[in-house]
Amino acid sequence: MTIRLNGEPYEIAGPVTISALLAALNIDPRIVAVEHNIVVVKRHQYDDTEVREGDEIEIVRFVGGG
Protein backbone atom coordinates (compact mmCIF):
# COMPACT_ATOMS: atom_id res chain seq x y z
CA MET A 1 0.00 0.00 0.00
CA THR A 2 1.14 3.53 -0.75
CA ILE A 3 1.50 6.37 1.69
CA ARG A 4 3.08 9.82 1.30
CA LEU A 5 6.24 10.06 3.35
CA ASN A 6 8.08 13.38 3.51
CA GLY A 7 6.36 14.49 0.33
CA GLU A 8 7.12 11.36 -1.71
CA PRO A 9 5.15 8.19 -2.39
CA TYR A 10 6.31 5.31 -0.21
CA GLU A 11 5.36 1.66 -0.26
CA ILE A 12 4.62 -0.30 2.87
CA ALA A 13 3.35 -3.89 3.10
CA GLY A 14 0.35 -3.08 5.27
CA PRO A 15 -0.80 -0.78 8.08
CA VAL A 16 2.01 -0.08 10.56
CA THR A 17 2.36 1.90 13.77
CA ILE A 18 4.50 5.05 13.78
CA SER A 19 6.95 3.19 16.03
CA ALA A 20 7.29 0.35 13.53
CA LEU A 21 7.67 2.76 10.63
CA LEU A 22 10.47 4.67 12.40
CA ALA A 23 12.20 1.40 13.23
CA ALA A 24 11.95 0.20 9.63
CA LEU A 25 13.48 3.49 8.50
CA ASN A 26 16.22 3.17 11.11
CA ILE A 27 15.26 6.51 12.65
CA ASP A 28 15.85 7.27 16.32
CA PRO A 29 12.43 8.34 17.63
CA ARG A 30 13.98 10.55 20.30
CA ILE A 31 15.39 13.12 17.87
CA VAL A 32 12.44 13.53 15.50
CA ALA A 33 8.88 14.77 15.45
CA VAL A 34 6.14 13.18 13.37
CA GLU A 35 3.03 14.53 11.69
CA HIS A 36 0.24 12.18 10.64
CA ASN A 37 -2.26 13.76 8.25
CA ILE A 38 -1.25 17.27 9.33
CA VAL A 39 -1.62 16.48 13.01
CA VAL A 40 1.46 16.27 15.23
CA VAL A 41 1.71 12.85 16.85
CA LYS A 42 2.65 12.92 20.51
CA ARG A 43 5.62 10.72 21.31
CA HIS A 44 3.66 8.49 23.68
CA GLN A 45 1.17 7.79 20.89
CA TYR A 46 3.74 6.34 18.45
CA ASP A 47 2.87 2.77 19.45
CA ASP A 48 -0.87 3.41 19.13
CA THR A 49 -1.04 5.44 15.93
CA GLU A 50 -1.57 3.37 12.81
CA VAL A 51 -0.51 4.48 9.35
CA ARG A 52 -2.91 3.40 6.58
CA GLU A 53 -3.22 3.62 2.81
CA GLY A 54 -3.05 7.21 1.53
CA ASP A 55 -1.90 8.68 4.83
CA GLU A 56 0.54 11.60 4.82
CA ILE A 57 3.49 11.33 7.15
CA GLU A 58 6.10 14.01 7.84
CA ILE A 59 9.17 13.12 9.87
CA VAL A 60 11.32 16.10 10.83
CA ARG A 61 14.38 16.79 12.92
CA PHE A 62 16.52 19.76 13.94
CA VAL A 63 19.14 20.96 11.48
CA GLY A 64 21.43 23.95 11.38
CA GLY A 65 19.71 27.30 11.04
CA GLY A 66 19.70 30.92 12.17
Binding site: L5, N6, G7, L25, N26, I27, D28, R30, I31, V32, A33, V34, E35, I38, V40, V41, K42, R43, E58, I59, V60, R61, F62, V63, G64, G65, G66
Partner: protein, 268 residues
Protein backbone atom coordinates in the same frame (compact mmCIF):
# COMPACT_ATOMS: atom_id res chain seq x y z
CA UNK B 1 24.65 33.52 37.01
CA UNK B 2 25.87 36.96 36.02
CA UNK B 3 24.59 40.06 37.80
CA UNK B 4 23.08 41.31 34.54
CA UNK B 5 21.29 38.34 33.00
CA UNK B 6 19.03 38.47 29.99
CA UNK B 7 15.65 37.31 31.26
CA UNK B 8 13.10 35.98 28.76
CA UNK B 9 9.80 34.53 29.96
CA UNK B 10 11.29 34.33 33.42
CA UNK B 11 14.29 32.31 32.32
CA UNK B 12 17.72 33.90 32.86
CA UNK B 13 20.50 33.71 30.28
CA UNK B 14 24.04 34.73 31.25
CA UNK B 15 24.94 35.67 27.68
CA UNK B 16 23.20 38.36 25.65
CA UNK B 17 24.47 36.84 22.43
CA UNK B 18 22.26 34.26 20.72
CA UNK B 19 23.91 32.31 17.91
CA UNK B 20 22.66 30.23 15.00
CA UNK B 21 23.75 26.77 13.91
CA UNK B 22 23.56 27.20 10.14
CA UNK B 23 26.15 27.56 7.38
CA UNK B 24 29.25 26.60 9.39
CA UNK B 25 32.12 24.93 7.55
CA UNK B 26 31.60 21.90 9.82
CA UNK B 27 29.78 20.84 12.97
CA UNK B 28 33.10 20.81 14.81
CA UNK B 29 33.81 24.44 13.89
CA UNK B 30 30.26 25.30 14.93
CA UNK B 31 30.81 23.76 18.37
CA UNK B 32 34.09 25.66 18.80
CA UNK B 33 32.45 28.90 17.71
CA UNK B 34 29.60 28.43 20.18
CA UNK B 35 32.11 27.90 22.94
CA UNK B 36 34.10 30.99 21.95
CA UNK B 37 30.95 33.09 21.78
CA UNK B 38 29.95 32.23 25.33
CA UNK B 39 26.39 31.81 24.17
CA UNK B 40 23.84 29.90 26.16
CA UNK B 41 21.12 29.81 23.50
CA UNK B 42 21.33 28.68 19.89
CA UNK B 43 18.74 28.45 17.15
CA UNK B 44 18.02 25.41 14.99
CA UNK B 45 15.77 24.85 11.99
CA UNK B 46 13.19 22.11 11.51
CA UNK B 47 13.47 20.02 8.33
CA UNK B 48 12.44 16.65 6.93
CA UNK B 49 14.66 13.76 7.84
CA UNK B 50 16.69 12.65 4.85
CA UNK B 51 15.43 9.10 4.47
CA UNK B 52 18.30 8.01 2.27
CA UNK B 53 20.99 9.40 4.54
CA UNK B 54 22.42 6.54 6.53
CA UNK B 55 24.83 8.69 8.56
CA UNK B 56 23.94 8.74 12.22
CA UNK B 57 25.46 12.15 12.87
CA UNK B 58 22.99 14.57 14.32
CA UNK B 59 23.39 18.34 14.78
CA UNK B 60 22.30 17.95 18.38
CA UNK B 61 25.40 15.84 19.08
CA UNK B 62 27.48 19.00 18.54
CA UNK B 63 25.50 21.27 20.84
CA UNK B 64 26.55 21.29 24.47
CA UNK B 65 23.12 20.75 25.98
CA UNK B 66 24.45 21.19 29.52
CA UNK B 67 25.15 24.85 28.82
CA UNK B 68 23.14 25.72 25.76
CA UNK B 69 19.38 26.10 25.38
CA UNK B 70 18.04 25.09 21.97
CA UNK B 71 15.58 27.48 20.31
CA UNK B 72 13.87 26.02 17.23
CA UNK B 73 12.91 28.42 14.46
CA UNK B 74 10.25 28.38 11.76
CA UNK B 75 12.67 29.48 9.04
CA UNK B 76 11.45 28.96 5.50
CA UNK B 77 7.77 29.35 6.38
CA UNK B 78 5.84 31.76 4.20
CA UNK B 79 2.42 31.36 5.77
CA UNK B 80 1.08 31.47 9.30
CA UNK B 81 -0.21 27.90 8.89
CA UNK B 82 3.19 26.53 7.92
CA UNK B 83 4.87 28.38 10.79
CA UNK B 84 2.28 27.09 13.26
CA UNK B 85 2.69 23.50 12.00
CA UNK B 86 6.46 23.81 12.22
CA UNK B 87 6.32 25.21 15.74
CA UNK B 88 4.06 22.37 16.88
CA UNK B 89 6.45 19.81 15.39
CA UNK B 90 9.43 21.53 16.98
CA UNK B 91 7.75 21.38 20.37
CA UNK B 92 7.10 17.68 19.94
CA UNK B 93 10.81 16.94 19.51
CA UNK B 94 10.54 17.45 23.20
CA UNK B 95 13.09 20.02 24.27
CA UNK B 96 10.87 22.98 25.11
CA UNK B 97 7.85 25.02 24.10
CA UNK B 98 9.96 27.93 22.92
CA UNK B 99 9.99 29.02 19.29
CA UNK B 100 11.70 31.69 17.25
CA UNK B 101 8.78 32.54 15.00
CA UNK B 102 9.52 33.49 11.41
CA UNK B 103 6.91 34.06 8.74
CA UNK B 104 8.68 35.30 5.65
CA UNK B 105 7.05 37.72 3.25
CA UNK B 106 9.65 38.05 0.49
CA UNK B 107 12.17 35.60 -0.93
CA UNK B 108 14.90 38.09 -1.76
CA UNK B 109 14.92 40.20 1.37
CA UNK B 110 13.51 37.56 3.76
CA UNK B 111 11.62 40.40 5.40
CA UNK B 112 8.80 39.15 7.60
CA UNK B 113 5.15 39.07 6.59
CA UNK B 114 4.09 40.95 9.69
CA UNK B 115 0.36 40.38 9.18
CA UNK B 116 0.84 36.60 9.13
CA UNK B 117 3.45 36.85 11.87
CA UNK B 118 0.99 38.56 14.20
CA UNK B 119 -1.69 35.96 13.47
CA UNK B 120 0.73 33.08 14.08
CA UNK B 121 1.93 34.71 17.30
CA UNK B 122 -1.63 34.89 18.63
CA UNK B 123 -2.31 31.24 17.82
CA UNK B 124 0.94 29.94 19.28
CA UNK B 125 0.66 32.06 22.44
CA UNK B 126 -2.83 30.62 22.96
CA UNK B 127 -1.31 27.12 22.68
CA UNK B 128 1.19 27.86 25.42
CA UNK B 129 4.29 28.53 23.37
CA UNK B 130 6.97 30.98 24.41
CA UNK B 131 7.09 33.00 21.19
CA UNK B 132 10.08 35.08 20.08
CA UNK B 133 9.05 36.64 16.76
CA UNK B 134 11.61 37.74 14.16
CA UNK B 135 10.13 41.00 12.95
CA UNK B 136 11.09 44.20 11.18
CA UNK B 137 12.20 47.42 12.82
CA UNK B 138 8.69 48.89 12.92
CA UNK B 139 7.72 49.99 16.44
CA UNK B 140 4.03 49.55 15.67
CA UNK B 141 4.28 45.87 14.80
CA UNK B 142 6.61 45.34 17.76
CA UNK B 143 3.98 46.78 20.08
CA UNK B 144 1.27 44.61 18.52
CA UNK B 145 3.44 41.50 18.88
CA UNK B 146 4.07 42.30 22.52
CA UNK B 147 0.36 42.86 23.12
CA UNK B 148 -0.33 39.52 21.43
CA UNK B 149 1.82 37.86 24.09
CA UNK B 150 5.26 37.56 22.51
CA UNK B 151 7.89 36.88 25.17
CA UNK B 152 10.37 39.15 23.40
CA UNK B 153 10.48 41.07 20.15
CA UNK B 154 13.28 40.54 17.69
CA UNK B 155 13.54 43.39 15.19
CA UNK B 156 16.00 42.94 12.35
CA UNK B 157 19.03 45.19 11.98
CA UNK B 158 19.18 44.52 8.23
CA UNK B 159 18.23 41.62 5.93
CA UNK B 160 19.23 38.16 7.12
CA UNK B 161 22.78 37.38 6.09
CA UNK B 162 23.36 40.82 4.59
CA UNK B 163 26.02 41.97 7.03
CA UNK B 164 24.77 45.55 6.66
CA UNK B 165 24.56 46.22 10.38
CA UNK B 166 21.91 48.33 12.08
CA UNK B 167 20.14 50.09 9.23
CA UNK B 168 17.72 52.07 11.37
CA UNK B 169 19.25 52.74 14.79
CA UNK B 170 16.63 55.28 15.72
CA UNK B 171 13.84 52.74 15.28
CA UNK B 172 15.68 50.22 17.45
CA UNK B 173 15.94 52.88 20.15
CA UNK B 174 12.24 53.67 19.83
CA UNK B 175 11.33 50.00 20.03
CA UNK B 176 13.43 49.58 23.16
CA UNK B 177 11.90 52.65 24.78
CA UNK B 178 8.35 51.36 24.34
CA UNK B 179 8.84 47.63 25.03
CA UNK B 180 8.18 45.90 28.29
CA UNK B 181 9.57 42.63 26.93
CA UNK B 182 13.20 42.10 25.92
CA UNK B 183 14.30 43.47 22.56
CA UNK B 184 16.76 41.27 20.70
CA UNK B 185 18.21 42.59 17.46
CA UNK B 186 18.04 39.64 15.11
CA UNK B 187 19.54 39.59 11.59
CA UNK B 188 21.90 41.71 9.56
CA UNK B 189 24.86 41.94 11.90
CA UNK B 190 28.12 41.81 9.94
CA UNK B 191 30.94 42.48 12.32
CA UNK B 192 31.66 43.22 15.95
CA UNK B 193 30.90 46.94 15.89
CA UNK B 194 27.38 46.20 14.60
CA UNK B 195 26.70 44.08 17.65
CA UNK B 196 28.17 46.70 19.96
CA UNK B 197 26.00 49.39 18.36
CA UNK B 198 22.87 47.29 18.87
CA UNK B 199 23.67 46.94 22.56
CA UNK B 200 24.57 50.64 22.90
CA UNK B 201 21.12 51.48 21.55
CA UNK B 202 19.72 49.60 24.52
CA UNK B 203 18.92 46.24 22.93
CA UNK B 204 18.73 43.45 25.48
CA UNK B 205 20.50 41.01 23.19
CA UNK B 206 21.68 40.27 19.69
CA UNK B 207 21.01 37.19 17.57
CA UNK B 208 23.30 36.34 14.68
CA UNK B 209 24.31 33.43 12.49
CA UNK B 210 25.98 34.40 9.21
CA UNK B 211 28.32 36.99 10.75
CA UNK B 212 30.02 34.21 12.67
CA UNK B 213 29.48 31.12 10.50
CA UNK B 214 30.72 32.69 7.26
CA UNK B 215 33.53 34.79 8.73
CA UNK B 216 36.95 33.70 7.49
CA UNK B 217 37.69 32.57 11.03
CA UNK B 218 34.37 31.77 12.69
CA UNK B 219 35.89 30.97 16.07
CA UNK B 220 37.79 34.27 16.20
CA UNK B 221 34.70 36.17 15.08
CA UNK B 222 32.65 34.42 17.76
CA UNK B 223 35.12 35.71 20.37
CA UNK B 224 34.92 39.18 18.86
CA UNK B 225 31.14 39.12 19.05
CA UNK B 226 31.19 37.99 22.66
CA UNK B 227 33.39 40.95 23.55
CA UNK B 228 31.37 43.36 21.41
CA UNK B 229 28.08 42.44 23.06
CA UNK B 230 29.65 42.75 26.50
CA UNK B 231 31.32 46.08 25.64
CA UNK B 232 28.14 47.49 24.13
CA UNK B 233 26.13 46.46 27.16
CA UNK B 234 28.65 47.97 29.60
CA UNK B 235 28.76 51.19 27.59
CA UNK B 236 24.98 51.39 27.57
CA UNK B 237 24.78 50.93 31.32
CA UNK B 238 27.66 53.37 31.89
CA UNK B 239 25.64 56.24 30.40
CA UNK B 240 27.35 57.78 27.40
CA UNK B 241 28.07 61.49 26.92
CA UNK B 242 25.68 63.38 24.67
CA UNK B 243 26.68 64.21 21.11
CA UNK B 244 27.47 67.87 20.47
CA UNK B 245 28.37 69.73 17.34
CA UNK B 246 31.30 71.72 18.71
CA UNK B 247 34.23 71.01 20.99
CA UNK B 248 34.39 70.93 24.76
CA UNK B 249 38.03 70.98 25.83
CA UNK B 250 39.29 68.17 27.98
CA UNK B 251 42.19 70.12 29.47
CA UNK B 252 41.70 73.18 31.75
CA UNK B 253 42.10 76.74 30.43
CA UNK B 254 43.52 78.08 33.73
CA UNK B 255 47.27 78.25 34.28
CA UNK B 256 48.37 78.08 30.67
CA UNK B 257 51.81 79.61 29.99
CA UNK B 258 50.77 80.67 26.48
CA UNK B 259 49.76 84.32 25.76
CA UNK B 260 46.11 85.37 26.02
CA UNK B 261 44.01 84.79 22.88
CA UNK B 262 43.51 87.20 19.87
CA UNK B 263 45.77 90.28 19.88
CA UNK B 264 48.11 89.49 22.79
CA UNK B 265 51.92 89.50 22.29
CA UNK B 266 54.66 88.05 24.43
CA UNK B 267 57.97 89.80 25.29
CA UNK B 268 58.99 93.27 24.06
Amino acid sequence: MTSDPLIIAGRPFASRLVVGTGKYPSNAVMADAHRASGTDMVTVAVRRVNLSDKSKESLIDYIDRDRIFILPNTAGCYTADDAIRTARLAREVGLSNWVKLEVIGDERTLFPDTVALLEATRVLVSEGFVVLPYTNDDPVICRKLEEAGAAAVMPLGAPIGSGLGIQNPNNIRIIKDQSRVPVIVDAGVGTASDAAIAMELGADGVLMNTAIALAEDPVAMASAMKLAVEAGRLAFRAGRIPKRSHAAASSPMEGRIAAAAAGGRTGA
